[in-house]
Symmetry: C2
Subunit: 413 residues, 2 copies
């Protein structure tokens, strides 16, 4: 053979891969005057720039250790600070139980690598974060949706579903965001956390508890901070035999400190952590020791609690502007519940509103959101949408509400 | 079913994964007085701490854009600076042709995800970087070694091997470090670069040209900087029809600026780049925009050329101390060629030296290196070893040479 051969093909999941459905909205964002409720970005006005600059200075003053390669597991200083966060959230944790990851996106990716083979069943609460669905699709997992209601994942429906799954479709893991889920904004009820752990133990699957938003709890209607049920991992500590907690806990500094640090973390059992560390050696050797050192200095500076408190208050104000704007006065046709924390409001559309017409009219009016179909692995409820109140300021949100109301009128049949 | 089920198993490649063979040496490093030639870390004394601190200050002064999420492809400022580096290395490159990765380790990982399915054939020059072999093992690739000599990968042997490969084992890609390879330190001869590209075109596989060390070229014996042959990708530009260059070029700032930035990069065709971007969305969303901004500010500060020049000179001094120390005077039994750049010396042992006895005696003497077997996917030549001269200072290297000589005498039969 001497003629040129055509280039070897891509791996099957990458033959014609779809990009992120949220990124497809990017072109609209640059339109003049557009108000975006689409992204999942935290508000830049809430970053503690001064505190982070001090932390960076402190980190760089440490010299080589902030510039050299670091251990795959993470810097000792940061692992200790994150274990402390875990303990404050009611979980048992030593620094050796923590794996630092390049954002919590990587933590989920490592779990998928270590646990999921093509065709394996993975349970996902639905509607779900699109990047989670994409990671599972690329891993050629068999995605089985678990329905949610206003109290989060429906464990009754999950029990039925598990009882009916054929033995060869035994799930490897279940993915949930129990605290202020993305996109639904729900808080998983305490008794459901217990039921979920019991089902995990009964059927032998792991629960991935992704908790980037738990710190962003609001005050309830009477001004009292939202009471938080124990984390699912803490429930696992109570219900599982010692050393066999089926719950893996993920969190991140992206929503509370700064996304650009790319610092996420995983709290899990030793066997799983060791395998995720081996996978991480291959994935990126280590998370930036420089940003890890900045994160450790920041967490140890004592500024974190006030920063989070400021975010809670401001996000609550923005959330109220959005939810009350759409819910009070004349019927907008866009029905949403008030989330108890987080960054997202999930809405259902009156059936007389055409979802595509609404989206088109909203773009013309100058407001954008994410149509609900992005959050379903299949069979989307098209009369849904996700709005993030995190990035725009209150006056912008008030304007966004007016534009949405106008668009909804235009899109109503 | 109501009793507890055992937990679902790990994915097959993670059932009992081996860790990095280099990391297994870590326990020896903490012994008092140990001199390590084992690691692949750059010298911390060569980091431009002052320049990086200025760059960090400048980056943080940009406010939100250095703290927020960034585009998966990388920050525009950095992609432009890296495209400039590619052009200075003789390749065609616009910023849109660059994907910023979390170290070049991630770049290879993304390529494996996008191209390799279990059982796919991947050609690897051997001896090879252990993390490359590990990534391919975890991807369940069929690794086919290509032999090297003092001029790098043997393209004659590769041609024979390709002619004999069954049609169903057509390779997806070939991995090579043409410039000062890890671990062999070789520079791939110019005519072999041509032959390699011709074979890639003939058989339809991609070439991964991993080039973290190319900037670290030494002066030759007459004091003239080592002449560099064109990069394999540049050869691909000449030989391949327009738009079908089979060579993917990877590089990194880890060896020349600082590993802790975790900034690597890929220069490739649009179809491959798009798929790697989709894979990266799942892997970690984006490389730290903070360290990207620091890297961009640093590269744009004008300090980079002097930093690299300092590293070249100092690494050359260290290399000479090692190679001349082992090669001149009484026969050490440890034979090594002088590399023309990079961070590594590859050595072959006299057959009368027992490799395991040498390692044990070296540890007792207080010097450590990486036994050659770590660099072979199978059938290792046990009478080989890798020494890195990058981290220790010259006096330490001189002491290491004496210790190695003593150990070799003790280990000779």
């Amino acid at each position: 053979m001497n003629q040129a051969a055509s280039l070897a093909p891509f791996a099957a999941p990458f033959a014609e891969p779809a990009g992120s459905p949220i990124r497809e909205l990017f072109p609209y964002l640059s339109r003049p005057g557009m108000i975006s409720l689409a992204g999942g970005y935290p508000s830049p006005s809430l970053f503690d720039g001064e505190g982070l600059a001090q932390a960076a200075q402190q980190a760089l003053a440490q010299g080589a250790s902030a510039l050299q390669y670091g251990a795959t597991e993470g810097l000792a200083e940061l692992r200790e600070a994150l274990a402390q966060q875990a303990r404050e959230r009611g979980m048992q944790a030593a620094s050796g139980d923590i794996l630092v990851t390049t954002g919590s996106q990587q933590a989920f990716d490592l779990l998928v690598r270590v646990l999921v083979e093509p065709g394996d069943t993975v349970l996902v609460e639905v509607p779900a974060y699109p990047a989670t669905l994409q990671a599972l699709r690329l891993a050629q997992a068999h995605i089985v949706p678990v329905p949610m209601d206003e109290h989060g994942l429906q464990t009754g429906a999950l029990a039925d579903l598990l009882a009916e799954l054929p033995a060869d479709q035994r799930p490897k893991l279940l993915y949930t965001v129990p605290n202020f889920s993305n996109p639904r904004g729900t808080l998983l009820a305490a008794e459901r956390r217990q039921a979920l752990v019991r089902l995990a133990l009964q059927y032998g699957f792991r629960v991935v508890e992704d908790d980037p938003y738990g710190e962003l709890r609001f005050d309830d209607a009477s001004g009292v901070p939202q009471a938080m049920p124990p984390t699912v991992r803490a429930v696992g500590e109570q219900l599982a035999p010692a050393g066999s907690n089926p719950v893996v806990y993920l969190s991140s500094l992206s929503k509370t400190v700064a996304p650009a640090l790319r610092v996420g973390w995983m709290l899990a059992d030793a066997a799983l952590l060791r395998r995720c560390t081996v996978a991480k050696q291959t994935a990126d050797l280590c998370t930036s020791p420089l940003t890890q050192m900045v994160a450790a200095c920041y967490l140890n500076s004592g500024r974190y609690p006030a920063t989070v408190q400021r975010a809670r208050q401001e996000y609550q104000r923005r959330m109220l502007a959005l939810v009350q704007g759409l819910s009070t006065g004349a019927d907008s046709g866009i029905r949403c519940a008030r989330p108890a924390g987080g960054m997202f409001v999930w809405a259902e559309l009156d059936r007389r509103i055409d979802p595509q017409k609404l989206f088109d009219a909203a773009v013309v009016q100058g407001v954008i959101y994410v149509p609900g179909k992005a959050f379903y692995p299949a069979d989307p409820d098209l009369h849904t949408l996700r709005m993030s109140f995190a990035a725009p300021e209150v006056p912008q949100i008030e304007q966004a509400v007016q534009r949405l109301r106008t668009a909804a009128q235009q899109a109503a049949g």
